[in-house]
Each structure stands twice: as structure tokens, then as C-alpha cells.
Amino acid sequence: MFAESTEAAGWFLENAWLIPLIPAVAFFLILGFGKRMPRGGSEIGIASMLASLVIAAGTAYQWVQRVDAPVAEGEHALARGSFGFARTFSEEAAEAGHEVAPVISTLDWFDIGRLHVSIGSHIDGLAVTLLLLVAFISTLVQIYSTEYVRGDRRYTHFFASITLFSAGMLTMVLAPNMLQFILGWEIMGLCSFLLIGHWWEETANSKAALKAFFTVRVGDMGLLVGTAALFALFGTMEIGEINEQAANFAGDNKGMLLFAAIALFIACIGKSGQFPLHTWLPDAMAGPTPVSSLLHSSTMVVAGVFLVARLYPVFHVGLDINVAGQSFNLIAVIGGITVLIAAGLAFVQDDIKKVLAYSTVSQLGYMMLGLGVGAWTGAVFHIFTHAFFKCALFLCAGSIAHTGSHHSFDMKKDMGGLRKKMPVTFVVWIVSTMALMGVPFFSGFFSKDEIIDSAKHNHYTVFYFVAIIGAAMTAAYMTRATYLTFFGKARGGAAHFVHGHDDAHDTHDAHADAHGHDAHGHDDHHAPAHHSAPLPFAKTDSSWQITVPLIILGVLAIFSGYLNAPALGIHWFEHMTESSIGAGSAMSVPPPPEFSWAAAAPGLLLVLAGFVVSLLISKAVFGEKKTALQGLTQRNSLLGAGHKFLVNKYYLDALYENVIVKAVAYPIARAAYWTNQHVLDGIVNAVGIGGKRTGELVYKYVDQGLVDGAVNGSGATARGAGGALQPVQSGKVNLYGALLFGAAAVGALVLVLVNS
């Protein structure tokens, strides 16, 4: 159908559209025939992902070649293949030395008015990175899942959804225009919903799925609005053109660009779990662990970051990033807040997946922060490294739950002391944790350090401190989690696992006696004794489908950082991707600063400090010895309040539940009530009379501090005015209607009289 092209870009680069197409087709195949396949359709999914991976690898290889040997100008003429399949190459190809033009292959989709929409692929360094990443991690996670969700009631559907997700993500990554981008984005949202709610029989899970869906949907509105604004501004949907025009933006319509950037960033906030819409992400851990590791840590949630990176000129110009004298911008502020609050929240979680979820949120904050402070390469590279080690961590958590802790994710109740029993998992976990902490010479170090350095270098001093404090907190909470999971005494489910295996073959009985089959929860429906054969060197660890992906990811968690290690003078990754921002003639992204150990030292010291303090506290609080610290939060009211505050996630959820959701349920009345009480009457304690929890919570945490002071001053005047207008505010819609129409009529009458 698509004619072979002998033109220079290379087969893989031109046919990258196959990468999402294969899983998309596989999705339908799984849906249609999956149940009849011997392995329930998982083989189709894995095969499709492998095929995608191969093509993605080929694409990456050819891209590397393309970068290393840039083609001469003029070779990329517009070529039109059969079936209206046009290949256009940017005119600015190879304009300046290393500027490598992206390879864009498109097919006309449809025309509406002046809108011309095509579908196809847009290959550049950024896209290649993400393609490879997504295809690779999806493959591993699917292999992992064959064991993890074995015997599940909706096994086939699981693989169908996860394959569709991959297709969606790859579609988005490849998107040459905003419409295809939105398409992929929405497919991901849908799959996220399906997969979080995979075990929808439990209310909590379906609620989490709904929450994720709706929260992200709030952001998606921003995406649509932002796209519309960009279209209005530039008259095109093509990402390349948008970037180009934005980078060279000189119009007086700056406000529009700002508006578009903010709207798009709202989408990123929703998708990438940034403050204040981050609450869905931890709840999304209700999904199966492979889902968490694929969608909610390494791939889907970085879509927001990817969007910013993809349309970086828009944000860069729209939000005045790196303009001298601007030490704050929206992206950096949101990213910074997210880094800190998420890290704070990670301290108080008992659920290992929640810890990792908040860690993910925090790391996503880092990426945003990086983009906000102009460290484009650092941020993109952090996407890359983070994906490996965070995926590894999640899969470790899954492995522990699957094998070690009897399908519980509760670190305090069901884990501890697992390091000897699960050596593979333990080693991978430690490696990944160190990468996450940013320990030198692990992958996380290189990427994170670049962000931190850039923040300082680009004069975002506040964010520099935010970043290093965040790094320290990361070290601390990860230490706590590691300690709770692998050290100390085995508790609960882990105890069964650890001690149960000592007695020769009573294992199964012990399991059955202690928990019965029901205790397994949903994660799996077979007892651990039925696992397929583990690898010889890991007699007690999970089976090979789980450990092999773990090992691969663990290795990458160390070595993926060496693609771009400024500390060692390697800038290869930067070299490969830097053209992706577009032909940035008017836009000046400062190059990343030169690495120096001195600059990295404060961060590293803080990380070390965080590690040590956390270790000590963990030992003291969770260790076997009794110490004064145990139960401290119960005894000390201040610490207790802080702990409670954190445990309740800063009451953000309560705020959403009670203000936003209830406002929808009792639509006008409740909101108007709230507004009236506060704005008009200014009598805050009247909230209490309503007896609504909303009132109380808002009163406690928002009003007392912020609103009250301001309002009290104006209270008297407002009260007087309110009293005078009281009869008008009767609360009757009809009366409002009468007033409205009456006023309209009078107004019209006046106009008529004036005009005639």
C-alpha cells in the first residue's frame, strides 16, 4: 500500500507509523480472538509489542545514523507516494550543523474548512526516545503480567487494554499534529480508566478509576482549549509548524500565547499528576501492579511532561521561561510545589505502592521543574531514566506482593525482612532506589543533577533549593520504605512467606490454613505454591516471568544514565535530541551548565543526610528494639497533627469531595450558599450553622488563615450592603428570572427610546 521509498531517511524512520499500528491491530485481535488463544491473548500482545520494539529500535538506530551523518539540504524534497501518502521534510533541514530535521510522514485525514488534518508520524530525537522507552517497557511489563495476572477473570481484557494503551501512547508520541496527539492522549486516558478499574467489582477500585478519569478529564478540557487557542493563533495543527511559529513569535498577541500555554499546562497538570490535581495518581494504585508500573509511573503520566517538552517553544515563549529577571514561572512553581508536597506525603504512606506513587508524583514534579527552569534535556533525560528505575521499583513491589507478602501492599503489616528470601527483587530494588535517590553513578544521578544544576545556573535559586530539599526527602522516604520492606522483622504475610518456607512442604497448608483462599484478594487466584518454576538461583523468589524483567530493568537503572553523563563528559543523549525543540532561532534555551562536582556536592550531601536520618529514624521507629521514637506521633500532639495532616493528604481530597463534588450534586444551591456566606455576608461562623462538613473543613484550613483576615475588615461594610440587598436575594429562581427579564425589557425600552 505504501510504496517503498528509496529516499534517504531510511525505512524505519519513514515507516514509524507501524509502531503504534501493530499494537492497535493487536488490540482488536486480542478482543476478537484472545479468549480462544491458548494463552488468553497475552501472546498476541507480547508479540505485537516485540514487533513494535524491533521497529522502534530500528528507528532509533536510523535516527542515530541520521544525526551522526546529517543529510545535505535539498535531498528532502516533497515526495508523494501512492494513496496520497505524502512525505514532507522540513525545509529547514540541516540548517545549522547539528540541526537535524525531523522525519515527518503523513496521510491526509480530513479537511474541515481551513483546517487540514493529517495523520502520520513525526520522528525526532524526543519521539525516538519515547518510542523506544514505551515499546521496551511495555514489552517487559507484558511479560511480567503473564505471571502476575495469571488466572484472572479478565486476563484477556487486561492484555487488550494494556496493548491498546501502548498503541495510544505510541500514537501520541509520534503525533505530527495536535489532533493525533489528542487522539493518543484520550486513548491513554480511556485505557487508564479501564485498567485502574480492572477489578471493578470492588467499589474502591471503580471509584478510583472514575476519579482518575474525571480528574484527568478536567485537564483534558485544557488540552482542547489550548489546542483551539493555538489553532486560532497560528492557524495550524501541525506541531512542527506550531513550534516554529511560537519560537519566532513576535506578534503583539502574546496574551493569546500565554493563554494557550496555561491551558495546555492545565492538561499537563491533570495528566502528569501535578499539584493540585495529583490526587488521582495515588488512588490509581488500585489497579494491578503492572498497570501502575507501566501507566502510572513510567509512561502515561509522563505524557504531560512530554507535551510540555514537545511544544516547548510555546511554553518557553508563552510563559517567559529563561527571560532575565523572571525567577518564577508557572511550570516551575507547580513543579516545585509538586516535588515537595508529594515527597512529604510519601513519608506517611503504609502502602508500598502509594509510596512509589507519591514518589512518581514528586519525580514528575522534578521533570516539570526542569522544564520550567529551562533544563529541557535534563527533564527529557529524567523521563528516560526515571522510567526504568521507577518501573523496576513498581515491579519489585508487585513481585513482593505476589510472592512475598501474600498479596498485601501494606509495608507495616505484611512486609519486612524479605531481603534474604527474595534476593533478586531485593537487589533490583536497592539498585533502583539508589538510582531514584540520585546516588552518583546511578542513572538518576545524571538526570536529576542536571535539572538541579540548571535551576541554579539559570538563576532559579528558589527552585534550586526546592530541588535539593526534594532530593533529600526522596532519599529519606525511600530509605524508610526500603527498611520497612526488606529489613527488620518479617510481619504478617511476609512472615508466612519467610518462615513458611523453612518447613519443608507444609507451605501450602500453612497458607491455606492461615488465610484461606479468600485472603488472596484480587491480585491473583492461585496460591504461591502453584507458581511456575523459579530460576535456579532464586529458589524462593518469584518465577522467571517476573524476575527477568526485573533484572533487565535493574541493569538499565544503573546504566541508562551513561547515555548522558555530564559528570563523565558524555553528552550523547543531548546531541541526539536537541534538535527536537525546533529550529530555535529566536528562542534561546541555554545549554546545560558544565558539570562540576562542587555544584553537585550540596545536593549529594543533603541526600546523604536524608538517607542517614531516615535510616536512623526508621530503625528507631520500625526496628525491633524499643525506642523512644515509637508511637511518637501518638504522644506528641504537634507531630501528631503534622502526621495526620500528611496522612490525610493535606485534606485536598476532602476539599475536592466536599466542595467540588458536592457542588455538582447540589448544583446551584450549595455553591451559591457558599459564595453568599463568604462574599456577601462575610460571617464565617455562619458556615457552622449549615452544619456541613465542607464549611468546617474550609473554615479550619482555608478561611482561618487566608480569607478570614481579609474578610473581617470588610465585614462591616459588606454586612451593611448585604442587609440592604437582602430582600433581593430571596433565593427564588423565579424572582431572579423576573428581575433579569424585567431589566432586559427596561433596558431595551431605554435603548428604543434613545434611538428613536
Binding site: A672, L680, K732, N734, G737, A738
Partner: protein, 99 residues
């Protein structure tokens, strides 16, 4: 035919609709009055179309019809919810909007 035939008809319906919105207490009836208003607007749109000899008014009439459908769906769902919670759909019983 005079254009004013249609326009005045629209005005009459509009006024009646306004009267309904003001005078009715039952939420469903208020919704119906709003439908009256929307219909009168549609008649006007189409009549204006015929003055200009274009089709744009028809397009917007179609859009208004679609919006009205959406509005009724949500409106009735709200009414149902209010009825469920309060066993009444009389609007002035919903006095929480009172100042």
C-alpha cells in the same frame, strides 16, 4: 408573507415563556417555559434566514435544538435528584440560595 408574522409570533411565544419562567413554581414547568423561549428564538432565526436568503439561521436553529436536548437531559436529571432528596420539585422550597 410578511416577515413580521413570524417575528411577532416569536415575540408572543417568548413573552409567554418569560411569564412561565416567572410565574411557575414547579421546576419541570420552568424548564418547559424555557423550551418555549428557545422555540421562539428558533422561529426568529429561521425568519431572519428568509429575510437574508441564507441558511445560517437554520444551522443555528439546529444547534439550539441540540443544546436544548442536552439542557433538558441535565435539567431533568437535576430535577430527579432534587425530587429524590427532597420529595418536592417546587422551586421556592429550594431556599438555600437565599441571601
Amino acid at each position: 408573507m410578511l416577515v413580521n408574522n413570524f417575528l411577532i409570533l416569536g415575540a408572543v411565544l417568548f413573552s409567554i415563556g418569560v411569564y412561565g419562567v416567572i410565574a411557575r413554581k414547579n421546576a419541570v414547568l420552568v424548564l418547559m417555559s424555557i423550551e418555549l423561549i428557545l422555540n421562539s428564538v428558533n422561529i426568529n432565526l429561521l425568519a431572519f434566514d428568509r429575510i437574508n436568503g441564507t441558511q445560517d439561521g437554520a444551522v443555528f436553529a439546529l444547534y439550539i435544538i441540540a443544546i436544548a436536548a442536552a439542557e433538558v437531559g441535565v435539567g431533568l436529571a437535576m430535577v430527579l435528584l432534587i425530587f429524590r432528596n427532597r420529595k418536592t420539585i417546587a422551586l421556592d422550597d429550594l431556599s438555600e440560595m437565599k441571601g
